[in-house]
């Protein structure tokens, strides 16, 4: 009971905090920030506690059949006119994603402490953004899911346009509108699912037990997949991500790349594949061709870019490609790999963008050609960046390696020639990642220090907390993958079971 209450409070608490801060005058920035930080920390604590609880609960009773076993369930009638419910619950995948979000939101707040003007609105928006992301991972009702899903895009625009840098309005619009395009496709298919199921339900668990008409699935699955793939920046809908990230303030980049991009892949796993397994089996062997761009080619583009955020954005695109590959292969191992990569890349890219943001706030340039020798001046951030880089290129010991190898092994298990070929290409392209990461790190951190950077200082305590926390997450997942992997299995099993039907 307490757990259920706490679980609900994960998404309600940020909103309450925002409301609480409304009457505080904007001059009391410090108070506002502290209140928000405290709430972020509280949510993180709750998420950690619940994750541990849920882990032991799921160990106690393994999942059987195609019905997801949810814990901490709240189901209340909500929009009775359309039979939509307020239905939230937790299983391994969603709990871990919530935990990831809590970490990234908390660290995102920490890096935004010196955001400057309008911090009251900024923090409120972060909280709302957090709420929407939590909601996406928690809800098991399509309407509720969609409401949370689409909320986040416009928050992003406000934050990018208000607090971003460079072409902020352009970048923000590009991001928001492209994401809106994706959610438009999703919404249309949701209606289809609701009506075609014949049971007039929005409940994911109930819908999963119904076999939707195959002719419907044939066209609806690709649309739904692409709709979700937009936020995962799958080719050819990746174009929003570099411009969006580069214009966004640090916290938004962290949240966007770290968590929001996973919402798409989460949606594919949880909704598209779970509800339409026949369509998935039919369409994914064709859709997987799109991942070639992400997996094999995006890294090359990152090599050519000189702007730190562009590099990081393309790196995200290429890592997300692996998630898509894992999902598309539809084998038990590859799906688990995809889920692991979702987590891993969340921490990784948050760390990346946090480090990049810290560097940018000191050097006021993101062009790596204008930097050099920063390791001497900002060793802490530099080391964090290098660690992020290593984790990004799949160094064992960090989570990226675990996720990547699971995806490779999993997608190789799919026996069709396409998947074999793409897996081979994907494995061979891990070198390219190394090229751009080392090139960037070397160019930026090593060599001679330009005189104008002589006065910059290393990370403060808040920033150090951010970096250390994220690095610990990367390491933890990389060194002790077995519990996480088993935990994920418990929630992937029903999806796989449905795939067999």
């Amino acid at each position: 009971m307490l757990e259920t209450l706490l679980y609900n409070s994960i998404w309600i608490l940020p909103l309450l905090t925002t409301l609480l801060c409304v009457p505080i005058p904007r001059e009391k920035e410090k108070l506002i920030k502290n209140v928000h930080l405290f709430s972020g920390f509280l949510v993180l604590g709750i998420a950690v506690y619940l994750t541990i609880q849920l882990y032991f609960l799921s160990l106690a009773s393994p999942v059987q059949g195609s019905v997801s076993v949810l814990r901490f369930v709240t189901e209340l009638p909500w929009l009775q006119a359309i039979n939509a419910h307020y239905f939230i619950g937790a299983d391994g995948l969603s709990m871990l994603m919530v935990l990831l979000t809590a970490v990234v939101v908390f660290t995102g707040m920490l890096v935004s402490l010196n955001i400057g003007k309008g911090s009251k609105e900024f923090f409120a928006l972060i909280q709302i953004l957090g709420t929407s992301i939590y909601g996406v991972f928690m809800s098991f009702d399509l309407v509720l899911f969609f409401i949370f899903y689409e909320m986040e895009a416009v928050c992003m625009y406000l934050m990018i346009a208000g607090w971003g840098s460079g072409k902020k309005d352009y970048g923000g619009k590009k991001l928001t509108l492209t994401l809106a395009l994706g959610s438009a496709m999703i919404l249309a298919v949701f209606f289809g699912i609701h009506v075609e199921s014949g049971i007039h339900s929005w409940n994911i668990l109930e819908l999963a037990q119904v076999k939707l008409p195959e002719t419907f699935q044939m066209w609806a699955f690709p649309i739904l997949f692409m709709g979700f793939a937009v936020s995962g920046s799958l080719f050819p809908f990746h174009f929003w991500s570099p411009d969006g990230h580069s214009a966004a303030p640090t916290a938004v980049s962290m949240l966007a790349a770290g968590v929001m991009m996973k919402m798409g892949t989460y949606g594919i796993l949880r909704i598209a594949i779970y509800l339409m397994p026949e369509g998935a089996r039919f369409a994914l062997p064709y859709l997987v061709y799109l991942t070639i761009f992400n997996v094999v080619l995006a890294a090359f583009i990152a090599v050519r870019h000189k702007d730190l955020k562009y590099i990081t954005a393309y790196s995200s695109i290429s890592h997300l490609g692996l998630i898509f590959l894992g999902i598309a292969a539809l084998t038990p191992v590859s799906l688990r790999g995809a889920a692991l990569q979702m987590l891993s890349h969340g921490f990784l890219t948050a760390l990346f963008f946090a480090a990049v943001g810290m560097i940018y706030s000191r050097t006021h340039t993101r062009n790596i050609l204008e930097m050099g020798g920063l390791m001497k001046q900002i060793p802490f951030i530099g080391v964090a960046f290098v660690i992020a880089g290593f984790a990004g290129l799949g160094l064992p010991g960090f989570s990226g390696f675990i996720a990547e190898i699971t995806i490779f092994i999993g997608s190789f298990e799919n026996t069709s020639p396409v998947f074999r070929l793409i897996t081979i290409l994907a494995v061979l392209s891990i070198t390219t990642t190394a090229i751009y990461i080392l090139q960037t790190a070397n160019r930026m951190l090593n060599g001679a220090l330009p005189g104008r950077f002589a006065a910059i200082t290393d990370a403060g305590p808040g920033e150090k907390t951010v970096l250390v926390l994220l690095i610990l997450c990367l390491l933890g997942l990389g060194l002790f993958p077995a519990p996480v992997s088993d935990f994920l299995d418990s929630s992937l099993a029903p999806i796989l079971e449905n795939l067999k039907r």
């Binding site: 929009l79 406000l158 289809g192 009506v195």
Partner: protein
């Protein structure tokens, strides 16, 4: 006991009383207060009406059912907000135009227009239907040209009335064929006749003329051309009324026809309606892309909203009614929220996008309210506008109009683009010159806050939509 007639009779009476009070008082304040009180009374009466499932009929020509009461309440809400909004334009100059005069008459005209909506809702035969529509329309012409000192206003009025008359001619022509086809004016008898002879050319010609005629008032493609000019030229309160009350009456008219006499051919009308809806919302969205004047912008925005509303009409009756009713509640609220903000901005400046610049610094609350209004109109969850659109689509989904829904939601992206322009102007763009200070009255402040809270909450709080669907279903 015919208690169900009381609100209608009250609304019929009050315009006269308002004008009468104005005659006997020095300024229009008492009239304004009286009008507000009577709106309140009418609303309370409507709310207290206890109706069964069967409609109540007065002398076989005046019908009141639960859906009608619901729509009456929405009409009253719209009129009430319209009067409150108009008040400022009678108090001071705005948008670099002289202030309006003769408020009591303005209010009375607005009330008549609202009563026209009541009449359309109550119609059981074509004559009441037609008269109701005309009562709702004719005052609008006058409202448009209200500002006699403004050449744009009279130009807008001229365009509006000339085109409106042509549309009336279309409707009349359509009605005459329908009468010829069925030989009667009773809606229920016509429905029987339609069900018996579904492919009579006479019937379909009348359908064509009627839909084209009402398409003018509903600003459907390609009959929308008057809207940008008229919305732009009319006084701002009239623009608001046009985009809410007038549009609502037109939708009710269309629904009365489609789900009344034409119920039997509804399924055959679906392709036509779908096409109309799709093209209208597309064109409306495109037109709004690069606007600078706010009222013209709102004109295109409301054109596309009309397209969205039409989508609901391809669904089954009960869902369509609920969806339209709910949509109009949230649309009224969000639209008036936007207009109230424009009213505040436009007091010392022109009503253009440039005037919005720097708003987030001058008045963050206003800027937040603007964002809420814009996002609600764009249909972004969890704001009310999203759920409004959701219900519209839901209705269409029941008829398996997936392609139309997909097209509409993709169009939403374009819509989001131009609503973001609005927000961008307020939040991102820096003003070139120091903006004029804002003056905001207490009334405006209260209304804006209330409407904003309404927009934020009625989407996710279930009671309103649950009730609406229970009432109409």
């Amino acid at each position: 006991m015919n208690a169900f007639l009381i609100p209608d009779l009250l609304l019929l009476l009050t315009p006269f009383l308002v004008i009468a009070i104005r005659i006997f008082t020095r300024n229009s304040k008492p009239a304004f207060i009286f009008a507000n009180l009577s709106f309140l009374v009418i609303f309370v009466f409507l709310n207290r009406l206890v109706l069964g499932d069967e409609p109540h009929i007065f002398f076989s020509t005046w019908k009141v059912d639960r859906f009608g009461v619901l729509m009456r309440e929405i009409l009253i809400l719209g009129a009430f907000l319209g009067v409150w909004f108009a008040k400022d334009y009678f108090d001071h100059r705005a948008d670099h135009k002289s202030k309006l005069t003769q408020m009591a008459e303005y209010i009375a005209a607005l009330m008549f227009a609202t009563f026209g909506g009541f009449a359309v809702l109550s119609a059981t035969e074509l004559l009441t239907l037609f008269l109701g529509l005309e009562i709702a329309t004719v005052p609008m012409y006058a409202l448009t040209a209200w500002n006699k000192t403004d050449p744009n206003g009279s130009e807008a009025g001229t365009k509006f009335i000339l085109m409106g008359s042509v549309a009336t001619a279309f409707e009349l022509f359509g009605l005459s064929y329908l009468y010829g086809f069925a030989g009667t004016l009773e809606l229920s008898l016509i429905a029987d006749a339609v069900a018996q002879n579904m492919h009579s050319p006479l019937l379909w010609i009348s359908v064509l003329f009627l839909i084209c005629g009402i398409g003018f008032k509903l600003t459907l493609f390609p009959f929308y051309t008057w809207a940008p000019d008229v919305y732009d030229g009319a006084p701002t309160p009239t623009t608001a009324v046009l985009s809410v009350t007038s549009k609502l009456v037109a939708v009710i008219f269309l629904m009365v026809l489609i789900f009344g006499p034409f119920a039997a051919i509804h399924s055959e009308l679906i392709p036509f309606l779908s096409l109309l809806a799709a093209i209208t919302l597309f064109v409306g969205n495109l037109g709004a892309l690069k606007q600078n004047r706010l009222r013209r912008f709102m004109a295109y925005s409301s054109i596309s909203q009309a397209g969205y509303i039409l989508i609901a009409l391809i669904g089954p009756e009960s869902l369509a009614r609920g969806a339209v009713a709910y949509y109009f509640v949230v649309y009224t609220i969000a639209n008036y929220l936007a207009f109230f903000i424009f009213g505040v901005i436009g007091r010392n400046r022109s009503e253009t996008f440039e005037s919005l610049r720097g708003l987030s610094k001058q008045s963050p609350v206003l800027a937040v309210a603007l964002a809420v209004a814009a996002f609600s109109l764009a249909g972004i969850p969890p704001l009310a506008g999203f759920l409004g659109k959701f219900f519209l689509f839901y209705s269409a989904a029941e008829a398996k109009g997936y392609a139309l829904i997909l097209f509409a939601v993709l169009n939403n992206v374009i819509a989001l683009y131009y609503y973001i322009q609005l927000i961008k102007a307020a939040w991102v763009d820096e003003p070139e010159t120091e903006p004029e200070p804002l003056a905001i009255t207490l009334r405006q402040k209260v209304v804006i806050i209330v409407l904003m809270i309404g927009t934020l909450t009625i989407g996710v709080l279930p009671f309103l939509n649950t009730n609406i669907f229970r009432i109409v279903g």
